[in-house]
Symmetry: C2
Subunit: 307 residues, 2 copies
């Protein structure tokens, strides 16, 4: 138990903020945690379940006197929220965010940050398919990566402190620049999500196979896509609209590759398919070796699909 | 414990056959289980781990006197295996298979089946990303679906017996015709696998994001694809080559839908994206309600990616 920030303000109270709250409580990392959510319903839920020491009725009130302010709202509204709080920020405070896109957030939030406040963009690469104030849990960040994407001339001490804080929340921290970050997440997260959404949408859309058949027989592979295609619609809409270029680039490459495989199927080129499928198998092995996934068959779900 | 077939011959000793063996032992469903695999290495492994009561050195020897013969080889070699065993099949025996494609298997195997033998094509929709004789386990078929795809004029008693056998192995059984089967699995299994293979291949192929970054940061969504993209390359090559039409049809629909979403990203049509993502979220809910997946966040992997 060691307090790292005296007051931490969480603006937006969804999956990430609520998990940060419980992880802070687990580690005793904050003197006080304040919180704010735009919707009254969310604020009431937060109060009911003890999410935040103090739930405020405005973002400005929540950030007053906070030495760490974390913007946990969809990336599309980061700029507006920054404008709301800018006059209430304490001198010397650090403002960070948890948005999945960094160039756009920096452009939207940066101009609102006062001279005497540190702005250190961040992105914990952790989540589940659930959202809202009741979906958080203290272990969400354990052994997951958190990106810090410092802008130029940021105070090294403020960065080091934020890094130590994320490590205390359970994460491994990696620093990189915004452009590279947005490309890395386009590959590892954004494009996969769009592909999953598309596949699930297509299956739902087919008229010759009934909905109930798609659902009944989903264990053949389809169900693996449905988890990430169940992620928060608002968050993901904003991600794609703000990381447009990198996502479209990867999707272009994906389509190219898909066409090559379709052509191999059409022309009966079994060797091309076999070689491709052998290569992708090796990648899974690397991910398991890197501790980024379980090696239990079927993600450990086998035989007990529903507890 | 009730013996349903006096002698069951498993031809091909991979994930499905080995799981059938252990499930038969669990339920005491077979008097004797014989087995054959083309590779001597696989036969030796089978003998070492006690897979099958008797491992034979030819397919013909394995099927002698068997009242149930199960073809558990990749669909591309089903016809050749049927030709190998046809003269050794006992009168009144039932031949079935576990191939993921049915029209092609029926066309390849059917002509080799003697008049006095029942041929009842089957497809247990169960598996993991692992393959080989050591990957099987008794629970693989529990609560999963198994398709039976009887051809015309098949003896109803033989079908009823095979159905009861699959139910005793743990499965739910669904009968349908071959054409509909091949379409259903194209949607729920074959197209998702090809999409996953493609996504994993693309990520591996990118030069601007290093391999180690793709692996390190895979928990952002990418890792969900890698499981099914780690499935057996030979099996899947054959699936795509033999269920060509249905798979290409679904992939065509997929591409169309993907282009519509790409256009929405490019033009900034947030409403289209939001509506699409809301719909796909509901489908996951249905799959969980149908008992076909776990409702634990991250498939239950959270916080403990590697045990």
């Amino acid at each position: 138990m060691s307090v790292m920030y005296n007051r931490v303000a969480l603006i937006g109270l969804g999956l990430i903020a609520s998990s940060m709250h419980w992880a802070m409580k687990r580690g005793g990392l904050a003197g006080e945690v304040t919180g704010y959510a735009r919707s009254e319903e969310t604020r009431e839920t937060a109060r009911r379940i003890g999410l935040c020491d103090r739930v405020c009725d405005s973002a400005a009130e929540a950030v007053e006197g906070a030495d760490l302010v974390v913007l946990c709202v969809p990336v599309g509204v980061m700029g507006a929220v920054a404008a709301e709080i800018k006059d209430a920020l304490a001198a010397g405070a650090t403002v960070t965010d948890v948005g999945s896109v960094k160039r756009d957030v920096i452009a939207a939030v940066g101009p609102h940050i006062p001279e005497n406040v540190h702005f250190i963009p961040g992105h914990p690469m952790a989540g589940t398919e659930y959202s809202g104030p009741e979906s958080g849990f203290a272990e969400l960040f354990d052994d997951r990566w958190c990106f810090l994407v410092p802008v130029e001339d940021t105070c090294p001490d403020a960065i080091a402190k934020l890094r130590a804080y994320w490590e205390a929340l359970g994460s491994n921290v990696e620093e990189m620049d915004a452009e590279h970050h947005d490309l890395v997440v386009a590959v590892t997260s954004h494009a996969p999500h769009l592909i999953a959404y598309t596949m699930v949408g297509v299956a739902d859309d087919l008229r010759r196979v009934t909905d109930s058949e798609v659902i009944k027989f989903s264990a053949g592979g389809f169900r693996d896509f449905t988890r990430i295609a169940a992620s928060d619609p608002t968050m993901w809409r904003d991600v794609f609209l703000t990381n447009k270029d990198a996502t479209l680039e990867i999707l272009g490459r994906f389509t190219e590759e898909l066409f090559a495989l379709q052509r191999a199927i059409r022309t009966g080129d079994g060797d091309h398919l076999f070689d491709y499928f052998t290569r992708t198998r090796a990648i899974r092995r690397s991910i398991i070796d890197a501790g980024q996934d379980t090696d239990a068959p079927n993600f450990g779900r086998t035989g007990t699909p529903k507890s």
